[in-house]
Symmetry: C2
Subunit: 174 residues, 2 copies
Amino acid sequence: MHLTPAMQAFILHWGEMGAKWGVNRSIAQIHALLHIAPEPLDAEDIAETLGLARSNVSTGLKELQGWKLVKASRALGDRRDTFMAIQDMFDLATAVVEGRREREFAPTIAALRAVAEEAKADATPETVKARMQETLETMQMFDDWYRDISRLPRGVQLMMLKLGAKLARFIPKG
Amino acid sequence: MHLTPAMQAFILHWGEMGAKWGVNRSIAQIHALLHIAPEPLDAEDIAETLGLARSNVSTGLKELQGWKLVKASRALGDRRDTFMAIQDMFDLATAVVEGRREREFAPTIAALRAVAEEAKADATPETVKARMQETLETMQMFDDWYRDISRLPRGVQLMMLKLGAKLARFIPKG
DNA sequence: CCGTCATTTCTGCATCTCCTGAAATATCTG
DNA sequence: CAGATATTTCAGGAGATGCAGAAATGACGG
């Protein structure tokens, strides 16, 4: 697939952003390419376009599918897969947040909960135990909030986003 | 400073979490230690406790101060700095989010805006330009939302968090 | 202005991550 | 089942990151 300079720049920036957030740069670039691509691409095409080894693209695509950011499909009577990124930006954001929550945030909360429990048994000072507990509770509060919100219908979520700070007006006092 | 097994475990998990989110593991550990420490620690103490080179602790502390997660202070008539992490968990979360927005999210939006502009001039296909535009607008929407919310008083923010999905009830229809 | 103590910068090395190309495996066709 | 095509796995190497220790810089007291 031919890339115009602007498309190259887009992919580059997307890759940078990924790198800063702990995502492999190449994988982020593959995602960027699929994100702007008007039609599904096959792995070979991606490898050529981005100048990556075919094998890498394979691994990257697998990972992106694991995050549910990319879907594979195969045209009838074709032998190779073609790949497409989630189209809707809101769905994309949801998938990313949900993925990170599930794989990184939730397990950390669970681990810290166990640690806080362990602290009760060993010689950990009271003040430290209290800090751990507070940490845990706040993280849990954020997690609960996210899970609450994520269950709402998309339309309501969008509304809340667009209302932004104005929402505060409708909050019951006290 | 002596670490009980639970404290060690806490620091380890905090470090792991940091690593997954693109933060240097040692730096995350330094932060974890300061986070649970009941009183301010000096750099020497941190280095010993975590088994890091003194120089690395220095760099790490500088970075943590840059993120406004840690404050340095010096007792009157003392020659060495002591360090303390933000105490309130909500303040911590705010500092992290604000830091990332400022350094990583906002610059990316700006870069993508420039790219979208560039795309108008070069041979980028219409569909691709549209995708870029949509991407930009959604990212901007999230950013606007965050900036809106971040300006509200802490009490209101807490209220919104605790209300969670129930907030949807107060959203005006339409 | 010199000595002490603390901090920071810098250099080289160890480790880890990531990528490539080759080999192995899987899938489909005739 | 043999051949063709696509995908995945894997071992090795290149490059990036992170760390320790040495050297340089800075701050303060006398």
